[in-house]
Point group: C2
Chain length 324, copies 2
């Protein structure tokens, strides 16, 4: 049976968003809530509540299923959560917990993989069979498409584009590693650079955005200051773009993608991070540099939610033996 809707859920460290989505990608109804901090069951409760809200009034036979994106490494076949930095979900059977209370099929996936899925189905990567997505937000994540399919690796843990080593003696990464892309481009790293600049009496506008309090400076303050012409802020973000581009040289040389899509809150707020990265790739990558386009994402905050819905549609259709 050809269903009309899927529910996409995007669980982040700060907020959870859910939407009722049509096959063509229109979000008919959506809602969001702050991510509860009271443990895994509170998160599951919040997810269920949002799903019920956005699907209220729609007959259950009309809904293909629920896709849930999590900021976690997920064994896709087993649907188990293997690693999760920001939420206490590792080892929790979120799928079973949700399915015990909602009569729909639930599929979990990594949030970066789903952002890639969303951009592939409905956004900047439509029709790109081989592409990489990188999401610049609190963490740095991403996802890969290979031969027109999401590629998650042997057990579904792949796509962690933010955790390539780009400087062996670089700063620590929240994941426990050293000198990863996220060590330079995560929100915390950009905030530290902003604080350093302000403490050294550069970046007056950065300090102003933060109400004059060095320790209150966040990545967003750096971005805002840069938009207002602050040179120190712009230098921080240009350097971030350079680091990103040099890291992506490896992706271009190893995977020869047609397209690299840069999304996430920071990626979308700073088009020149994307431009600087593209320039670094053009300068350093091997012959694949001539093939690759580096472009901003199109779906903004909805990429993960839309990708989760697209996944739910596809899982439904493959269960039913339908083909796209």
């Amino acid at each position: 049976m050809r269903t009309s809707y899927a529910v996409g859920v995007d669980v982040g460290g700060t907020r959870i968003a859910a939407g009722l989505v049509e096959r063509k990608g229109r979000i008919v109804k959506d809602n969001k809530t702050l991510t509860p901090k009271a443990g895994p069951f509170a998160v599951v409760d919040a997810v269920i509540e949002l799903v019920e809200e956005v699907s209220a009034g729609v007959h259950s036979s009309e809904i293909a299923g629920i896709g849930i994106g999590l900021p976690a490494q997920i064994d896709f076949l087993r649907q188990s959560i293997e690693f999760c930095t920001n939420l206490p979900l590792a080892g929790v059977d979120v799928r079973a917990l949700v399915m015990s209370r909602i009569r729909h099929q639930v599929t979990l996936d990594n949030d970066g993989n789903l952002a890639a899925f969303g951009e592939y189905r409905y956004g900047a990567a439509k029709g790109a069979r081989d592409f990489a997505m990188i999401t610049l937000g609190t963490g740095v994540g991403g996802g890969l498409f290979v031969n027109g399919e999401p590629y998650r690796g042997s057990r579904g843990l792949g796509g962690e584009v933010g955790h390539m080593v780009v400087q062996m003696d670089g700063p620590p990464c929240p994941c426990g590693g050293t000198g990863h892309i996220e060590s330079y481009l995560g929100r915390a790293a950009l905030a530290v650079e902003g604080q350093k600049a302000a403490a050294a009496h550069r970046g007056r506008q950065i300090l102003e955005e933060a109400g004059g309090e060095v320790s209150a400076i966040t990545a967003e303050h750096v971005v805002l200051a840069s938009h207002k012409g602050d040179e120190a802020a712009t230098a921080i973000l240009m350097n971030a773009g350079l680091v990103l581009g040099r890291a992506l040289v490896g992706i271009v040389n190893v995977l020869n993608p047609k397209l690299i899509v840069v999304g996430g809150g920071i990626g979308e707020a700073c088009p020149f991070i994307v431009e600087r990265a593209a320039q670094a790739i053009a300068e350093e990558a091997l012959a694949g540099r001539r093939d690759v386009q580096v472009i901003p994402a199109e779906l903004g905050n909805d990429a993960g939610l839309l990708g989760a819905a697209a996944l739910a549609f596809d899982e439904h259709d493959s269960r039913e033996g339908l083909h796209r």
Copy 2:
């Protein structure tokens, strides 16, 4: 028609090897020659001569085709050579030149891709659907398998595992980049480390291997000295293993491979480079570290030749509509 043999050719910067190979991977007859330095046509002549030698006496209907591995980035669909550091082959239509004089189908591929293909079909990676191969030799190359197929990217230029940035302010790479894996693990880089150690009066055995001449020290002298217990030589190679492992953290996090195979002359001569790399991955990678085995290659110098033959068999079978 089910043919019995394929000819595999492995063109390197130093020597060209060719072999007549049975379907099960036995090399029936092989031969090699030094790579001519007199331009592209001399290389093509040498390839043709070797192919004729190893296939002499076999009826042409028995031969599935010729596979040729080149140290070059190749547009696989167009069979065009896009980039070649060590030989003047970029833009030369090697396939057409060989086919104009030999009545067999010819297929070109990157040498690292073919080493991966060889190990997949006949060696250390048998049955591994998702794996990465890295070859440590004069250059550092490699190849990927994804879902049980060689993965070359959107235009066939992928698999250049040696050209990921691992240290943004690192030493120059022969490809023109900076701080790539090859900047640390290529033969030239290891030789420089050996020369530095000897010049600083460490690595007495390294110097001895080179006949007392600092400037004559090569990567092989470092390896030999290490095998004889020289501490400075061993430290150089252990550090190379650490750099390799930290670079491969990115491969593990992005691709979640089941297996990483380390080959090439240097890789096979130094099992502890492989061990040190495996340890670095175990220390730093995300959850995929529990899935991945890092092992030495099994086919030695024959990996590329055998992979070239395997490719020729597969191309023949797919032309004839046969399935493996």
